[in-house]
């Protein structure tokens, strides 16, 4: 029977030979990721109420990122609770090392073909590794932590194929903004989105992560990229096991719900206007929009390669007068690597302010938020009204290149104009 990658992974996790889209099955979870917001403070009381412990502490991965740096009484109390729970349970815990969706792949623990859940909507990021990973809420997570199982309605697959190759000045972020614009925020129909085609295959692992990450904005349950040499090289580079990726692809004759075909070569840098990622348009069409704040941050837009891209623009230039450029590297590992390569020095020379390795302004949970009437351009995934600050603030989305270019120009601009 011809099956999609999503079907193959679910069938294996459910202990079945094959599964059919629409069928509801109970699957065994290979890895459960939780963070300081939806994690211990929410799941521990439920587990206590049920009178049960963890099904397997070695399969639970805890990260503190939403309330870091914990600069208020309330947030430091949440972080203290998180640390206490980590000690009590003995789960793997990365504390203040960066954002969960970035530090999990960097830990080498997430393997191709895994069936994994995360207590966060951007959990499809794991699909970049060829894992079926999806986001769930805290109550459902408590159920997983107690039993190691979860029910799933086997999704159809929406195949999104990008042919050609991204031109210089374009990034995975531009692909995703264009897709949000074309398909809408429910275009993924809570099915499995699989990205394929030459333009996708030539992306690095961190670029693939950006792609899979924003499957959340497309409304897909998970966003998969079939593992290949890029995947195994990445896993080796982070010291993980060399995985067996045989059979981890969609069979050529497996039925899919939809098959979209796009050309990467003709794509122009994209921005999304307030207040939806679906408000996508070429950056050149928004060129007269002046900005106050430029934000390079989040799991979506501040990984090592995002920082490196922004530095290409910022090298030898300074942020425009009156504009604030804020940079919150996604992980400590990526920031250290960027520092070693001189990238952090470029940010400093350009006049950027560096923030902690955490969700920061993107989640909008902390003290630092956008003020009233501020216009911001951001490398993050979402620009919902009031998410990053005051309800009157206006957030545009763009790639790290586009954000850096706007910081220098003082207004939105096609970043290719600055890549000489």
């Amino acid at each position: 029977m011809q099956q999609t990658l999503a079907q193959k992974i679910i069938a294996r996790a459910a202990g079945l030979k094959y599964v059919t889209p629409g069928e509801v099955v109970t699957a065994n979870v290979d890895l459960a990721m939780i963070h300081d917001s939806g994690g211990p403070r929410r799941v521990a009381p439920i587990l206590r109420d049920l009178g049960v412990g963890l099904w397997n502490k070695d399969k639970v991965f805890l990260v503190s990122d939403h309330f870091v740096p914990g600069d208020t009484e309330e947030t430091s109390a949440i972080l203290a609770l998180t640390r206490d729970w980590a000690r009590e349970t003995g789960v793997r815990f990365l504390d203040g090392q960066g954002i969960c969706h970035v530090v999990l792949p960097e830990s080498g623990q997430l393997q191709p073909g895994m069936f994994a859940v995360g207590g966060d909507s951007h959990s499809p990021t794991g699909g970049a590794m060829g894992a079926f990973m999806f986001g769930i809420g805290a109550t459902e997570m408590a159920g997983v932590l107690a039993t190691g199982e979860i029910w799933v309605k086997v999704p159809e697959t929406i195949l999104i194929e990008w042919t050609g190759r991204l031109r210089d000045g374009l990034m995975a972020k531009d692909i995703m903004l264009a897709l949000c614009g074309k398909l809408g925020m429910d275009g993924g129909k809570y099915q499995a989105v699989e990205y394929t085609g030459d333009a996708i295959k030539s992306l690095s692992m961190q670029e693939r992560m950006t792609l899979a990450n924003m499957t959340a904005e497309l409304g897909g349950q998970t966003g998969l990229i079939a593992p290949d040499g890029v995947t195994t090289d990445f896993l080796r580079s982070v010291g993980g096991d060399t995985p067996d990726i045989s059979g981890l692809y969609s069979d050529t004759q497996a039925p899919v719900l939809e098959h979209y075909l796009f050309d990467a070569t003709s794509l122009a840098p994209q921005v999304a206007a307030p207040h939806s990622p679906a408000n996508a348009m070429p950056a050149s069409e928004a060129e007269n929009t002046s900005i106050d704040v430029a934000y390079i941050g989040a799991c979506t837009g501040a990984k090592y390669e995002d920082l490196k891209a922004a530095a290409r623009i910022l090298k030898g230039r300074r942020v425009s007068d009156g504009i604030e450029l804020l940079v919150a590297p996604s992980s400590k590992r990526d920031q250290d690597r960027a520092a070693k390569d001189g990238i952090m020095a470029i940010f400093e020379a350009a006049g950027a302010k560096v923030l902690p390795n955490a969700c920061g302004i993107c989640a909008g949970y902390g003290t630092q938020r956008l003020a009233a009437d501020v216009t911001c351009i951001s490398s993050t995934a979402r620009n919902f009204k009031g998410r990053m600050g005051d309800a009157t603030s206006q957030v545009w989305l763009g790639s790290p290149l586009t954000v850096a270019a706007a910081a220098v120009a003082g207004h939105i601009i096609d970043p290719r104009e600055m890549l000489l």
Partner: protein
């Protein structure tokens, strides 16, 4: 349970339902700001038994369960929408909030008196004496909602398992 309809558009996101800046505190403070970005007085105007009727992709965005919890705290009877974002839908079932898909919401107006029947899968507009048909909920999910959510449902199941042994 009957109440009034609060009508919303497409893509009502979790940052509107549970604004991030109040996520560090308790549900009472959070619920007071529920949907204020779209409808500033919502948390004050909404009464127990009122029903949310919305367009496509209700609950898009974050996995934060507080988006559902805030509506439960305000004693909203349920949400009827053209479609729901996947994680929100699962969270609603798991916390016991009725969420029903309507093929069309054309007949519903803001402020209409209405009642929602989970088992009958209809939204009855009492003043107009008409029904809006809803897609029936899968039985297993209906069972979880009627138990009051996943935790209560699991407790019941665990208890019957113990009895069986």
């Amino acid at each position: 349970m009957s109440g009034r309809i609060f009508l919303f558009g497409d893509d009502i996101d979790t940052d509107q339902l549970a604004p991030g800046q109040y996520m560090r505190g308790g549900i009472e403070a959070l619920a007071a700001h529920c949907l204020e970005a779209t409808r500033p007085a919502f948390s004050v105007d909404v009464q127990p038994g009122d029903i949310i009727v919305a367009g496509r992709n209700f609950g898009t965005g974050s996995s934060r369960e507080q988006a559902v919890e805030a509506l439960l705290y305000l004693q909203v009877a349920g949400v009827v929408a053209l479609s729901f974002a996947g994680i929100f839908y699962r969270n609603a079932v798991n916390l016991g909030l009725p969420v029903l898909i309507a093929p069309s919401i054309d007949g519903a107006k803001d402020g209409d008196k209405a009642s929602l029947q989970l088992s009958g899968s209809v939204l009855n507009l009492s003043d107009k004496n008409t029904d809006i048909a809803l897609e029936p909920m899968p039985k297993n999910l209906q069972e979880i909602i009627e138990s009051g959510g996943l935790v209560q449902y699991l407790k019941k199941r665990l208890a019957s398992k113990c009895k069986g042994q």
